[in-house]
Amino acid sequence: MEWTAPLLADPSLLFGAALLVMLAAILCAIVVSRKLLTSVALTGLFTLVAALWYIAMDAPDVAFTEAVVGGGVSTLILLGSILLTRESAEPVSPSRMVFPAIAVILAGVAILYAVGSIPGFGDPASPANASVGRDYLERTYKEVGIPNVVSAVLASYRGFDTLGETTVVFAAAVGVMLLLGFGERALGDPARRHEALNPDLVEEIDHHVVLRVATKIMIPLMFLFGLYVLFHGEVGAGGGFQAGVILAIALIVHALVFGLSETMRAFPAAAMRAGASAGVLIYAGVGVINMLNGGAFLDYDFLFPPPLEQALSGPDGHAGQHYGIIAIEIGVTATVASGITAIFYGFAGRAPDIASRGASRGPESGGGS
């Protein structure tokens, strides 16, 4: 039987269309802007609007991730790196645009050619929507026993992908630590000690009392919210990754308002490094326990030895899946929170070194607008 998707009955499609147009407008602005800061702010907006679009497309988990990552972490890291480099890009000569333009147009035409044969947007009978995706919807409650199908697929059916994703964050943290260090320069910056000895460098008026008070209220709330997102991920949108980013952002706010060295005293870089690898260890460790109990890697039904699993679950519960998912989500949170904090330490802690080379800044910043 032929079905056409009830597109007009779905208000989210109207929102989706409007948001897509807005996305395209923002992207156009990014293409033409040369001031890096403007580009970064617009990129932040782009990801926020993309996240809105994800909500309209019924993908709240993706929206959540895109918002915390694209709007929060990426923007801050980009800001940190602009501070360490330069603020505007050189114009591109038109002659250099020819080859990329041809390549891009060719690739675009190829994709459009293929898109013509993809079943229509929103079609419930398309191969993508009708096969494995639908199986997950039908089986999750029976096999994993949690309502959020995305979390179930993420942590259980395709848990190995998620282990890989966690490893990627770990590898990125290792890479940034290799390249930029652990922010140790912020702790040992001689200029800073010099400043303490010369109080006339410090202005008397305290401009930011409002900000500090507000931040003091916000940070505990953010921690609490992060934990809520972590443990709520089985039922609603959210999960270990989003929780990790929120926790990291709480630390980053602290560093932004109270100073990096203050934060690094409370959460030293060595601890972040340990946390990043501990998270992957927890995750892989859960898998190894499953193997020891006779299951496949990451088969949480074997998280507990079979007799214990039966005792815990009862007739059709899924104690193993339940605790397994929580355990690996904690691992993900640990790696992501510490990894992103370590990355931020790297970028922010590099600053004094560059700032002290202020002389080479001058000619570059003149290139703006």
């Binding site: 190829a110 293929a114 993809i118 199986d135 259980s156 994703e165 590898a171 190894v288």
Partner: protein
């Protein structure tokens, strides 16, 4: 099958878990290495984990030889739902090559890092190396198209940073690493888009499942374009001409440990995926694909072979000569694959294996001899054979093998390449290989002239004999080059059974079936 079956002493339950353990072992060790209190600990972990991975790879290979394709369901969920590790002879061969090289590189890394990277960062380097190893092993074992993307990224992200760490000696490493990152990520994203098209058309991500569903489709436009995107993405990662520009710069400025490992494995893993897609997923019997092989892949390979050989012949920096030669050698492999015959694929795999062995030896020798030498210029190696006879003899053996001199592994693999091309009626392609070998004589001759016949510069050469921990893996590789040139049963057996595995059946049976 490989002469190492005696290592297959694992209890049966352990052997069943080998597909997961081969990846998870290095992964856990990577985390532990980052936490290691000192560089010695990190090094031990690194060697231990690589050896463990190698052992597991041997177990896997002998299991595959015994019982055919092994399917391992991650998380206990059967294939289209869960992620499947699907090990056939091809994957087993690559797993052996990668983990074997990792062991040698790990041994080599101890002394080599000592001089190149400040010691507080050694644990991070070892951790990054092990992550990369886990990523490459996962890449060749997985049977899931998206999972392959994740492993592609795992194996690259740490590497970008580690290549940039060569910047302490030569600042050109930074832009080189950056270019590699851009190109690698574009490649990975192209791959991702291509997988998206396959998913849109078939509704599944499991490679065997995709292969089974493709014949049932009415329209294959999205499959065609998906394949194109996947191949372009992987060609970027595998440095197939003309998408190779990132490779020479990245290889010539990275820390030697990374170069040794990457030259033997990283582009090879992408070649693996190319073979996997062409043969298993698309089964070599599809019209667009054959046209692509004959009219795109083959001409590009030929151009790559000739142009990069010439570039190698004129470049003044020794590592870059070898890097350009690597691109040319990738061209040999893709050329043989483009014939789409069993003999061609087997010759390509045989050459790939041998090339890994010789390139690793060459870069290892340079890394070992030039520990105190900041420059990479060929002229600075004048008379190196006198100041570092052991290292440079091994280097010479591997260089002869690269050239294809008789009694070395390179000779046999070039012979088989030419045979397979002639058998496929591609005589002109065989002539191209001959021509490029002639150019090879020129650049290897240049290196020989400098290293062996020129006298040392005044004040003595900065080249020193490599320490024992480097000579050991180096000579193992050099001997392997000769051994495989005389008795090629091991690599040939691997390559033929691998080629048989992918070329024998036109399509894989969907997962679950034996």
């Amino acid at each position: 099958m490989i002469g190492l079956e005696f290592l297959n002493i694992a209890p049966q339950r352990f052997a069943e878990q080998a597909p997961a353990l081969v990846v998870v072992g290095p992964l856990i060790a990577a985390c532990a290495a980052v936490l290691a209190p000192g560089r010695r600990w990190a090094w031990f972990l690194c060697v231990g984990a690589s050896a463990f991975a190698f052992w597991m790879a041997v177990v896997l290979a002998s299991e595959v030889a015994r019982q055919g394709v092994i399917s391992y369901a991650m998380g206990g969920f059967p294939a289209p739902l869960g992620i499947e590790f699907r090990v056939d002879a091809l994957s087993a061969m690559f797993a052996l090559l990668i983990s074997g090289m990792a062991v040698l590189t790990a041994v080599f890394s101890g002394e080599s890092l000592e001089t190149e990277i400040m010691s507080s960062k050694h644990p991070l380097m070892q951790g990054g190396f092990l992550t990369c190893l886990a990523g490459l092993l996962g890449l060749v074992l997985t049977g899931d198209a998206f999972n392959a993307f994740v492993f592609l990224e795992i194996s690259s992200i740490g590497v970008y940073a580690m290549i940039a760490m060569g910047g302490a000696r030569d600042r050109r490493a930074y832009p080189a690493a950056f270019n590699y990152l851009i190109m690698g990520t574009i490649g990975a994203t192209f791959y991702l888009i291509g997988v998206g098209f396959l998913y849109a058309a078939t509704g599944t991500l499991n490679m065997a499942d995709i292969a089974a569903r493709i014949p049932t489709l009415t329209s294959d436009r999205s499959i065609e374009v998906g394949l194109a995107f996947i191949l372009i993405g992987l060609a970027l990662k595998a440095a197939v001409f003309p998408l190779h520009q990132w490779l020479p710069a990245a290889y010539s400025h990275a820390p030697s440990m990374i170069v040794v490992f990457l030259s033997a494995t990283a582009t090879k893993a992408s070649v693996y995926l190319i073979i996997r897609y062409l043969s298993t997923v698309f089964a070599f019997d599809w019209q667009v694909e054959t046209a692509f092989m004959a009219f795109v892949l083959a001409p590009l390979s030929v151009a790559g072979i000739l142009i990069c050989s010439m570039q190698a012949a004129v470049d003044p920096e020794i590592r870059r000569i070898l890097a350009y030669s690597s691109v040319a050698q990738v061209g040999y492999m893709t050329l043989a694959i483009a014939t789409a015959t069993s003999a061609g694929v087997s010759a390509a795999l045989f050459h790939l294996f041998n090339h890994g062995v010789m390139k690793a030896a060459l870069f290892m020798a340079i890394g070992g001899a030039a520990i105190h030498l900041k420059s990479q210029r060929l002229s600075d190696f004048a008379g190196a054979a006198k100041s570092a006879p052991w290292t440079m003899t091994a280097f010479g053996i591997a260089a002869l093998s690269l050239l294809g001199a008789p009694l070395t592994a390179g000779f046999l693999s070039k012979l088989r390449l030419i045979q397979s091309l002639v058998a496929a009626d591609w005589g002109w392609a065989a002539a191209v290989i001959g021509l490029s070998s002639l150019i090879g004589v020129f650049y290897v001759g240049r290196i020989f002239e400098v290293v062996f016949f020129r006298s040392e510069p005044e004040g003595g050469s900065a080249v020193r004999e490599a320490p024992v921990s480097i000579l050991l893996p180096l000579w193992l590789l050099a001997i392997a080059n000769i051994w495989f040139g005389i008795d090629a049963t091991i690599p040939l057996g691997l390559a033929e059974s691998a080629a048989g595995a992918v070329m024998g059946a036109t399509t894989l049976s969907p997962a679950g079936a034996p």
